[in-house]
Symmetry: C2
Subunit: 384 residues, 2 copies
């Protein structure tokens, strides 16, 4: 239980509305995760929902993505009367996202998209909430009129110093930000615009805040600072996130308390490392959720005809297929000598090669093209 | 003077923010026209600004266009406290434009983007304002659950019939809409998605309203119905609009009165039909605004070397260049016989031809390419 006048927030980030997973539409997954977040916010009677950047997956989102995010925000803020505290992330277009923001405040929906707005804290009963949107060092140069600011870490020093001049000592201080904090763990699905410490925020700069609600990295365990966390994304966006537990944080300001509330994926992302025979065995696949998004790593070494199509008949949402032992080893592991290979029919050689590389059989059309090409090659060989 | 409780609107449309004119940026023209509209609205103490569709030039406007329109709307509505009554046009993305609309009402900014919203009239002191966004017959099919609606005229009959059921007889009835009304005059710069009467609204369907504030056509004189007008665009968007007078209507509801208030273009669009010698004569160009967007029609018949570059030195914003007497007549009007032409050097023939067609000289690189091609052609001619 939180005390009177004490604040409780739900901290989420990186919704990436409009994102696809290896060509698969994630609309349903994102919608389902949203509904869980909404239920959690209401059940925990939070005083507001923090969304720490990357609301959209891209600066120019598709109409369907715009319609989906608009609906989510309206549901939370207008129907459920939940305050929203949000910032733009590096995937968002700050300019597009700013549309309507002056009106949103009337229903306690705060969406900051410009650096200057970071210094207009939202004043709540016991908390000052600083909403710092994603920015580039150039923006900080302009804002502080200081062209010695070349890197993010330099900019962040000035940003935090300025925020501290605004601190009300009677209140808690919460920062919402969308950056890479030095020392955090990275997965495949986060865009790392720059590599190295200059583009990272030193963790010690976050120590002045009672809590820092971070966005940018997609795993809740990316950073384990005392009072600074990435909430992670509500949905898994790559196979590298397969082992992450997705969810949201419930943050109590006083006494400080952090509770992770997990989300249940509609279709999960997972990796299966098995032999083809096991994967095709109903005593195996009968026990698992076959319509999850699955990355398959085959333990087999030998060629398997038409492997992807056969696996897809069982697992409709395969997002990747590779071999544990690679292909090179396998091509030469068959034990065929050069002499044996040279005796083979060229068409057989080609289809074997295609099978091993493309993990699929030649189509009838491809076979025709190959045969026509071989015919021409043979003719030219006879002429010379 | 309008009476107490009587309404006065400013009617504008077709802002097309983000539009370019033959490659030239119109940001400054649109900004300047906007400031004039704002001044007119304040000077005439209007009760609201009607924007009858095509706020943007395209469904996916550039960030700069988004920033510009957002600023204009905020200026009118939040700074000047002017109500805004707007609909989406065929150039707008209804879905994108809908972002934030539920919040906008709190400051009397009404922006309707869906057909269903046309039947939620804005109730003002003496007026019901129906905001009908641009829609496709398919939308009407869905809304009325009637798949016999195949064409716009059929849809419009049902739309107006439904609106009339909502009429408060004690009030005036004003419709804001973005369509092609049958019999209107069209210029080059309006997108005519369909041709023919089926895609047009019969004018008699507008008779039930005290005023119909139309958008879509860019000239204020496109339609001369008693109580239905296109305001036209605030800025000229093509040479075909050169002779249009741009402005806005001030509409009084009771007693009904319509006043056209012209806008002064920052840089006008105009056509000059003159000889090259006249155009290059400072006693001519010294008397006109040379930095206007100018379409030049030359009355000359003879080739003029480097004509575009020479004209641009005087007129920096040339948006088109053609010849009053065309090129065909000119090519053969020189009096050269076929025999004379055949005696000419092929390179001279080519550069003369290019000069007449492209209105420019061959560049050094083009000349090199042509010479190389002629060399090959000559070789091949010798071989055969």
């Amino acid at each position: 239980m939180k005390g009177p006048n004490k604040m409780r927030f739900l901290h989420t980030a990186d919704w990436h509305i409009g994102r696809r997973l290896h060509g698969f539409d994630l609309t349903d997954e994102q919608e389902d995760a949203f509904r869980q977040i909404e239920r959690i916010a209401l059940a925990h009677q939070v005083d507001g929902v923090i969304i720490a950047g990357d609301l959209y997956d891209r600066g120019m989102p598709a109409e369907s993505a715009v319609a989906q995010l608009n609906q989510m925000i309206q549901k939370l803020n207008l129907d459920d009367h939940l305050p929203i505290y949000a910032v733009s992330g590096n995937h968002d277009s700050a300019i597009r996202l700013a549309t309507g923001t002056p009106w949103f405040k009337s229903t306690h929906f705060y969406l900051h998209t410009q650096l200057a707005q970071a210094f207009e804290p939202i004043e709540l009963a016991d908390t000052q909430l600083f909403l710092l949107p994603y920015f580039e060092p150039f923006d900080a140069q302009q804002y502080f009129e200081d062209d010695t600011i070349q890197h993010l870490d330099q900019a962040f020093v000035k940003v935090v110093a300025k925020m501290k001049t605004l601190f009300d000592p009677a209140k808690k201080h919460v920062l919402v930000a969308h950056f890479f904090v030095a020392g955090s763990a990275v997965t495949d699905s986060e865009t790392q615009l720059k590599v190295g410490g200059l583009a990272a925020v030193p963790e010690k700069l976050l120590h002045d805040f009672d809590y820092v609600a971070l966005g940018h990295l997609h795993g809740k365990d990316a950073l384990h600072a005392d009072h600074a966390r990435y909430s992670g994304s509500p949905v898994k966006f790559s196979l590298s996130e397969a082992n992450q537990k997705k969810g949201v944080f419930i943050v109590d300001t006083d006494p400080f308390n952090l509770t992770f509330v997990p989300l249940t994926p509609l279709r999960d992302v997972k990796r299966l490392t098995e032999s083809f025979a096991t994967l095709m065995d109903d005593s195996f696949y009968g026990t698992i959720k076959r319509d999850d998004f699955i990355g398959i790593t085959l333990t087999d070494r030998q060629p398997i005809p038409n492997v992807l199509a056969r696996l897809r008949a069982i697992y409709p949402n395969i997002i990747s297929l590779d071999r544990l032992h690679g292909y090179d080893s396998q091509v030469f592991a068959g034990g065929e000598s050069g002499a044996q290979i040279r005796q083979k029919n060229p068409m057989d050689l080609l289809s074997g090669f295609y099978q091993q590389i493309a993990k699929d059989e030649l189509t009838t059309q491809q076979r025709k093209w190959a045969q026509a090409a071989l015919k021409i090659a043979r003719k030219e060989g006879q002429q010379s």
